[in-house]
């Protein structure tokens, strides 16, 4: 059960069971659901509003330098909408002593260690407000005179889909837009040997692009993912599977560079 609040200028749906959705937002799991207003006069079955990919946005910037077998540097994470609500909820339920581990998982770098956490706008806000998390990070790197990595080493799986077929639609949590930019600064004596070509793919339900470029002595990997629809019908399963596979292939192409020390 949710509540419809009549304001002087508009009606707002609110769900008081959510600890983190702000006053004018419905939590993502209430969105695009049928609802029946309980009124004296009766009502038609209505649909709760949906949020757009633009409203649920995250930007992750990782600035890293290879050093002594690790990639170390800083990170900055900024999220809005349902992504911000979700992060606030996770922070609320995570004891202080466990938050660094949680943030490493949030960045999809489970082997990494995170330090010097700085979180702004952590408390549930009255109105939609971005949340930001920043700090230092160390992620183990593969070793060897020649070093190799893949874009997939630094990002979560794009739409993990398995199995041959399905009868039910694929239901993602919400529409979203995530931009993840990883900048790797090459130390003195190291040089980039090769990097894969940039890549993009678009379907009615998602857009994905991977942009890889050199800038001076840095390698910049930018991954831009827009989930346009959060329900993908079973009839589009093959298309979704193909997109997932194509993205996996693109993200798995190796980047190689020579390092100064083994």
């Amino acid at each position: 059960m949710i509540l419809e609040v009549e304001l002087p200028d508009r009606r707002v749906l609110v769900d008081p069971t959510s600890r983190t959705a702000s006053f004018s937002e419905l939590p993502w799991n209430d969105q695009e659901a049928d609802y029946l207003p309980i009124t004296r006069e009766g009502s038609d079955l209505l649909r709760t509003p949906a949020s757009t990919a633009k409203q649920n946005e995250s930007r992750i910037d990782l600035d890293l330098t290879p050093s002594n077998g690790v990639l170390e540097g800083t990170f900055h994470y900024r999220a809005t909408g349902a992504l911000a609500d979700s992060l606030r909820h996770t922070l609320l339920i995570t004891p202080a002593g466990e938050q660094q581990k949680m943030v490493a998982n949030l960045l999809s770098l489970s082997r990494a260690t995170v330090a010097d956490l700085n979180i702004t706008a952590q408390d549930p806000p009255e109105k939609p407000t971005p949340i930001e998390v920043s700090g230092k990070i160390r992620d183990p790197l593969n070793r060897g005179v020649l070093r190799m990595m893949r874009p997939s080493d630094l990002a979560p799986v794009f739409m993990a889909i398995s199995g041959d077929h399905r009868k039910d639609p694929i239901v993602l949590k919400f529409r979203s837009h995530e931009i993840r930019t990883v900048t790797i600064h090459l130390p003195a004596g190291a040089e980039l040997s090769s990097e894969p070509a940039s890549f993009s793919i678009e379907t009615p339900f998602a857009r994905y692009s991977l942009d890889i470029k050199r800038e001076s002595r840095s390698l910049i990997i930018k991954r831009d993912v827009t989930i346009r629809e959060h329900i993908i019908p079973a009839s589009s399963y093959a298309e979704a599977h193909a997109m997932s596979d194509t993205v996996s292939d693109a993200e798995s192409r190796p980047i190689t560079f020579r390092a100064s020390t083994p």
Binding site: R19, L92, I93, T94, P95, A96, G97, E98, K101, S110, R111, T113, P140, L141, N142, R143, G144, V145, L146, R147, M148, R150, S152, V157, S162, G163, D164, S193, S194, D245, S248, D249, E251, S252, R253, P254, I255, T256
Partner: protein, 652 residues
Amino acid sequence: MKKLFLLLLFATACEPTLDWKWTPIDQLKRPTPADYPKSPAVVLEREDRFLNLALMQGRYYVYYDEIQRHDVIQILTEAGLKHAQVRIQFDDGGELVLLKARTISPSGEIKEVEPKRVIADTSQSGSVVDRKTERVQLFRFPDVKIGSVLEYVYTVRSPRQQIIWAWTGRLASDIPIRHYQMEFRLSAPMHYAFKLHNGETKFATRKDSDFNVVSLDLHNVPQYPEELWSPHWQVSEPWWAFRLTGIEPAQIMYDTWAHAQKQTIDDLYFNKKNFEGISPSLVGANCKTTDKLCSVDQTLAFVRDRTELSGFNEHPAWRPLKQVLSSAHANNYEKAILLAHLLPKTLNAQLGLLIRSHQRSFDHGFPMPREYNHLIVYVPKQTGIDAPLFLDPSCESCKVGELPPWSEGREALVVSGTLAFNGEIDAKADFITLEGTPMRPAQYRATQQVDLDDDGNIKDSVKIEREGEVAVSEQIDTRGWTAQKWKEADESFIRNRIRNARLKNSPRPRCEKKRSECTLELGFEATSFAAVEGDKMIVPLSLLNGGLEDRFRDEPRSTDLSFGNSIVEDEVIHLNLPAGYQVESVPPTMAKKLLLVEFVFETVVGPHEITLKRRYQTHFGRMPASAYQELREFFVAFYQSRHENIVLKKSP
């Protein structure tokens, strides 16, 4: 917990009950979240109180028990709010005689839970073997926020003529306990024994009217840890045990191991409904009467062939044997009972109670009922059987004389008894150490045949072999998996190694229970696996992926490291090089042998192939928590090998 019905008459009167009182608010010392940085809430006070009552009414005794829990919990973080919802569960026959709950706000305001807000329901738990109905009370504390203190107390009274005969109390919970208090009130005719394990605190005893009151106070009980290879809680945490050693005038006693097993002996040997329709004649008579070993062998084979092991129940539970046979599956207890009742009576086969864990053993000085989680069959030495036989039918590959690691070398309490005319059981119980040939060792081996082409693409054929105990576990764990579930597991296997790998074939595994082995073969392909860089090719070793990869974080360790049965995990990769390439560099070999863990990583370079071998092996035993950091260093270095590369160079 063990309760026993005493079949005596009862009458109602003014009956003693456990009292209680709210915690004085001015005495509450409230901690801050900084005092417990890893915990979302803390139990400030926990009282577990018990009443065991024998009340003379007229010419007879009335018996019952009461169990009371009184908790005072402070919420420290948002995650602690889950403690605002309370679920109280007790046996269907019990009666809830008290339930009070209140929220104390951070500023000291009090709000009680209204009785009409408490939801009463029943729930069913357990499997087809041990299903039981319990009563449930659910309620939610009102107006809970961070800093609130939640206090509740409830008392459950048993049905008449039922009392607590034995109890084990685990103290630790998922949040720390600042102060724990146990109090047991026992009517004077009761004789008893208490024991605190893993702690030095003494029980206090006093007289209170017609009761003997035994209590225990402990401070700062840590929350139970979630650490890899933690010892069993009974080995590492404080816990207490209670048993009645006798009661006047009922003359029923748990003073010896034999007396403590009377009910079990009755269930195992004399409860006729369990054995209806079961006799040695079911097995057939293909052996000469004098060839006793042949009979044993044949009966063991019958149990193996007619029932599939469905799993190891932690708590003793079994169905009537007719039902076991018709269902064609059996748990570890059912297998042993079936075997014992199918063996020719002349063999005098007996059942042995066992604790499967190598970490725990019977406390000879403190007899307890139902302190076992496994059964075996013992056949004493006799004409035709030169040495005592120990049979563990839950090992489906074990021949007569062979024992699996979960029972080999363990101590069994072999129980038997005779039934007197008055229904009394003359119980016998003897500790005997099991001897036998160990079954094949537990081994996991993943062998990959990898063809690498000159564009860096691979085709990989994987063979996963499990032997011994790990094959038994695999069979139990995957019972009932569908083709889709198998496919998902196989995809997970390959994508944990290469994200863009495509599964090409994934047939169902073949398991042979008579040999305790399972084999799974699957094939996959991946593009751009290796990087071609001028005249060189960089081959990552992400095809290696052990079961404990990335589990060893740089964190303080609170519990000892406890290794169970020995296990070997082997990964072997045969990498066939593309034509025209030779090896320029391979990662260095690593070998280390610690007290209980061995690691080996090596590469063998051939003219057209590289073989990578990675093995870790653990041995049964225990290492102190202080050894964790050293062990972690080796594990991290060992598993780092999957982040290494092989470099190939094009031949001139």
